[in-house]
Symmetry: C2
Subunit: 339 residues, 2 copies
Amino acid sequence: MATMQEIAKLAGVSRGTVDRVLNNRDGVNEETKKKVLEIAELMDYQPNKAGVALAAQKKNIKIGILLYGEGNLFFEDMKQGFIDRYNDLSLYGFSYVIKQSKSHVREQLVALDEILKEDINGLIISPFNDERIIKKINEISDAGIPVVTVNTDLPDSKRIAYVGSDTFKGGQTAGGLMGLFTKGKAEVGIITGSRNVHGHEERIEGFKNIISKNYPDIQIEAIEECHDDDYKSYEAIQRMLIEHPGITAFYFTAGGIYGGCKSLYQLTQKTPMTVITFDSLEPNIEYLNKGIITATICQDPYHQGVGALSIMVDKLILDKDPEQEKTLTEINIKIKESL
Amino acid sequence: MATMQEIAKLAGVSRGTVDRVLNNRDGVNEETKKKVLEIAELMDYQPNKAGVALAAQKKNIKIGILLYGEGNLFFEDMKQGFIDRYNDLSLYGFSYVIKQSKSHVREQLVALDEILKEDINGLIISPFNDERIIKKINEISDAGIPVVTVNTDLPDSKRIAYVGSDTFKGGQTAGGLMGLFTKGKAEVGIITGSRNVHGHEERIEGFKNIISKNYPDIQIEAIEECHDDDYKSYEAIQRMLIEHPGITAFYFTAGGIYGGCKSLYQLTQKTPMTVITFDSLEPNIEYLNKGIITATICQDPYHQGVGALSIMVDKLILDKDPEQEKTLTEINIKIKESL
DNA sequence: TTCTTGTTCGTTCACGTGCACGATTTTCTT
DNA sequence: AAGAAAATCGTGCACGTGAACGAACAAGAA
């Protein structure tokens, strides 16, 4: 591997000049610049990362991470991703702060103000889809602090990248599984989080897409919102089973798993249902093992954390812009036996 | 973060002495050694990785990677894992060589000799389960070159670690899926690779384990070896369907997917079968999309590559022994819609 | 004593990059 | 033409570690 020193020698200039050219700082004659660039190209110069890392020590860069859902296992997985990736990248001599707010827009706005006081150089956020959050993110971005969204996107904001999963494809996968498990014949009840959350809605669209294309004998009987609330999902299930006694399958697009499954556990001991959910949080795992949930579709929060931190370090320390605007994690299906 | 320099200052010695103590080289008075260790402990000293990396440049370490199955997509995925991880770790200034032999013990033995001529400091190998390979690995290990097995283990050799998947659990997952897709009622034909390959046999054991426990109405009608050969699996399917016309499902534990599925494609247009396979190579994907394969169970070769290289770098450059002897990758189920 | 051997430790260079400072040359101004 | 301003470039320090070299001193042998 070529070093700056070697390039300098070949170009007949000092290493300082090579440094100026390659980091395109000004103050270099056009001709020498051209010459140096030519040689660097020829030798396929790549900055030695150890050198970069060592020099980056004194920059004292700090990355802020803002999540919601305190105690939510999904975010615990994601945090593990941040931690593991940090251990890999810590040699660049940066630090990070994680703040986790409660699941409301207001709390997130407060937490956002708090984390900004910490003099962060970049922000990773799992944002609420709210105008005030978008506005704040744009302000932060304008102040020269790059923002990466993780798990939930804000496509209309000035964030530089998004790391998450393809919710439409997730819905399609749910549709495919539903067809396979029921041999193409079922009456389905859907419990969704909120019809205002883009990701939840896409999971329904993807589901309908596959069902309407491949499974004419599967009907969607009812859709109800539960806003990730266990009591609401408990009651929604009860109501659905009374109003639509023919229901043989349920599809949960979001939270409220614990309440919904408890309801099913009490009611359907004799007639087993096909139940498909998302993520593998505590309640998902519990009811997979109890045989209530047939399969759950995971969006790999661990690698969302890994990916988001990688992009941020690339941007802040290696001066590399993200290759894609959106990074989508793989969709994994889990059943009881593969947990 | 504490540096050696700071420790030296506090201990009233030079940085060189601190270096000697912390890298336990000899030539240090017991008392000063104790003092330095005490302070290092107190300050929770962790070597700065950028410094280590920079100093490691001149070591000129080379890691050898030996795979088989030229052109096999499974190993292409694994290679991508090696490459990506190398990009992360390349700052330690090491290099690597990948050799890929044909799928026979003899060819691997030859390739093994060849790769050893390259003056490698560590070896990552996807080994054949053969006495001669084991013997060779032990010799290499005795010569001071650590060996890590990937994808296939050799538990009785002197390899320092194994990175792969839990084949028994993979078999259990296949059993669970078979139960769900067939609603617990099926006659199954099994096409396995070789009964002498530990992993293939475990996939059958895991399958039987779940079937016998949960699905009394699923019968295994026949088991045949195809040694990853497409012609053999083509014929095996034909034979099975004649001898056991009641078969409604197939379970492939290994290769020969292309031949087997082609056979099914021709014969079962009218009566759709449930088909479960492993991995997501080209033929798996093709026949998933054609609706012949119902689901395939993946063992994440990408992360096997990532994991193996991480362990080797830890050992050779950071002087850290592997935390666990066996690292198992996650089991992912894929259907057409989630590809 | 004098020389040798061994123990203990400080000094120095190397690794590759970022960046500040200052030196040199060129161009512009009056 | 002489001084001021601008353009261009070299030098040197810092980042933290590994490892070779050699200095200082003590203990033992002749």
